[in-house]
């Protein structure tokens, strides 16, 4: 009785010690939460800034705009325009022609330079000779005429226009010199050199260690796309079928429990283990081509399956049992109730899980290293060839290309690797956007 009167006597306007303590704890917890989010955001900003800062320049590239004379005496001695004969002239034969064209441009612009012929030729990328040679072989009629070409500048010169290389750093670099940079600047002022958007970065294949300026992601993007097709076509139906069976049809006994535990464990298995499995089964046992998107896709399918199964089962579990009852109550069979009612309702969750699984697979590197996708590939893989079958030709993948480029010595590859990371992130963003769009769309069906 006395306690009660004391309680009644307390004013609501003053907080007691207990309440104060409780409120303080809540305020502390909120502060921790805000701090955690702030740290995460900061880390994200730092990561994105550094990647964009290093990589944005990969999307621009310096080219020389030159009128190149294609002398018949050097390129087609026979004068017959016979491709077999013309192919005997290698890129080494083309290099002097490019140097001569650059020298002509220097003279025309009235630029004074102390550089010798070899150093002037060094301004041009080693890839450029191949570009011109391919153009000539594709169209032999242009031999003997003068054509204007956009040819790649050497990596250091390109770096100078992007601010990566300076006159001071060039003085310490045995591959270039301050004079070369000044010459390039003068050429640019005269309109012979130009930095423009680098489509080749997205379409060209990889290039060797010495020519970062020519390296592109074309093969890697195609290889990743092929692998995603394989993963989607295999993992989605298998994963959904497995989860529908386990969730709706399978008896709940020790065996299904065991399978369930194992699926959860598989989701936590390090991805490189899947790579070893793929190497043993698909390449050594099944004799599929190594480095091929088919094998890569199969390995990533194995890796993605647990993710898809777990999210699909969660989506199926979230469908209210009353819907199943309703369907069974009007005389639908188990399968009809699942396929007509439960699965459509679970579709948004299944799609989200699948796309998250795909995004994970797209960014996976380790298992692909083991099945040989780390190889240097200069040729586009075909989707189908009679010899290699479906997706059987050697290819690389986006994350492996990043891994590859970060290992190379030439500083030009730092920019390329960061550019590749940006490309990969853009692909992931697109996939997540699709996931969100699909989920919204399907959920809007009431």
């Amino acid at each position: 009785m006395t306690d009660q009167t004391q309680n009644l006597g307390r004013s609501l306007l003053e907080t007691d010690a207990r309440t104060r303590k409780r409120n303080a704890a809540e305020a502390r917890f909120k502060a921790f939460g805000v701090a955690a989010i702030a740290v995460a955001l900061l880390a994200l900003v730092v990561l994105l800034t550094s990647v964009v800062y290093n990589g944005a320049s990969a999307f621009k590239q310096t080219y020389f705009e030159l009128d190149i004379e294609l002398p018949e005496a050097k390129l087609d001695k026979s004068g017959t325009r016979d491709l077999e004969v013309m192919k005997k002239v290698t890129t080494i034969g083309y290099a002097p022609i490019l140097t001569a064209a650059l020298e002509a441009a220097i003279e025309k612009a009235g630029i004074e330079t102390t550089l010798d012929k070899k150093a002037i030729g060094g301004l041009i990328s080693k890839e450029a000779a191949a570009t011109v040679r391919n153009a000539v072989l594709a169209n032999p009629e242009i031999v003997g005429t003068t054509q204007s070409f956009s040819i790649l500048a050497e990596g250091r010169i390109d770096g100078y226009f992007k601010g990566r290389v300076t006159l001071e750093s060039a003085a310490l670099d045995s591959n270039t010199s301050p004079e070369a940079l000044m010459l390039a600047q003068a050429l640019a002022d005269a309109g012979y050199a130009d930095t423009k958007f680098n489509w080749a970065f997205l379409t060209a294949p990889d290039a060797s260690d010495q020519r970062p300026e020519a390296a592109g992601l074309g093969v890697a993007i195609l290889g990743s796309a092929y692998m995603m097709i394989v993963v989607l076509v295999l993992a989605l139906p298998i994963g959904v079928a497995a989860s529908v069976y386990l969730e709706e049809f399978a008896p709940k006994n020790r065996w299904t429990d065991l399978i369930e535990v194992n699926i959860s464990n598989l989701a936590a298995v390090p991805s490189i283990v899947f790579g070893i499995l793929g190497l043993a089964i698909f390449i050594n046992f099944a004799q599929l081509n190594q480095s091929s998107p088919l094998v890569g896709g199969l390995v990533l399918t194995l890796m993605t399956l647990p993710t898809i199964i777990i999210s699909t089962r969660a989506a199926l579990k979230a469908v209210p049992p009353s819907i199943r009852d309703a369907a069974l109550g009007v005389g639908a069979s188990k399968m009809q109730s699942v396929f007509h009612h439960v699965l459509p309702l679970a579709a948004p969750g299944i799609l989200t899980g699948t796309i998250i699984g795909l995004a994970q697979a797209l960014g996976e590197t380790a298992p692909l290293l083991l099945i040989g996708m780390v190889a240097f590939v200069r040729d586009y893989p075909a989707a189908y060839t009679p010899e290699a079958g479906l997706f059987g030709e050697a290819s690389t993948a986006l994350p492996v290309q990043v891994f590859n480029w970060t290992q190379r010595a030439d500083p030009g590859f730092v920019e390329r690797a960061s550019g590749a990371i940006i490309t990969l992130l853009v692909f992931l963003l697109i996939m997540n956007a699709i996931a969100i769009y699909l989920r919204r769309r399907f959920e809007r069906r009431w």
Partner: protein, 265 residues
Amino acid sequence: MNDMRLMERAVDMNETKIAAKGVQVYYGATHAIKDVSIDVPARTVTAFIGPSGCGKSTFLRCLNRMNDTIDICRVEGDIRLDGEDIYDKRVDPVQLRAKVGMVFQKPNPFPKSIYDNVAYGPRIHGLAKSKADLDEIVERALRRGAIWDEVKDRLHAPGTGLSGGQQQRLCIARAVATEPEVLLMDEPCSALDPIATAQVEELIDELRAQYSVVIVTHSMQQAARVSQKTAFFHLGHLVEFGETGQIFTNPRDPRTESYISGRIG
């Protein structure tokens, strides 16, 4: 309905639709229904009453084998629909459920249009030969569900957008669309307000003309209002089964009397 059918009805007024004998139900180790025997008459509303957990819903779900979907549930004894053992190995529960429709406690329309909700049953059982046929079946079912006038202008609006009472009547319409012979209702009004309840009760009374209705209810007033026969369940036993009037005015068992006068439950 032609007159001949009506004549037949009048003749077999007291025929037994469902005969259950010595039914035992186990959930794992729990003995949920203990030796229940009951004869559900045709074209009558039979109410199951009793306190929560007494097994009346469990027993109801035995009548169309909905308990089959629960792994740990085991049913023993003999339940016959028109003299045929529904737990016979040759009986496909899907066919049985087309004959014995069910309406659930919570209105559970499919997240589809009103039309598709009702048309689903006839579609999967192949009752309609053409689109016009199906339209007719849907209209008839919705009329029998006493909801036609409210939804006829928006048949393609989502069924989940209706009010609770309308949803429940839609579910009843869905259940009658497959032309069942028995309609099981598991507390069909427990999620509804008094006005919707009154509408559903009125509907149940109309349905009696064509179906055998078995209704589980917590409300004794409801049982008294809508049913002709009442069964009182307690702790898994069928305590008393008889005419509704007799159960409520002159119960034979003291437990029934205690329950209806509010002393146990």
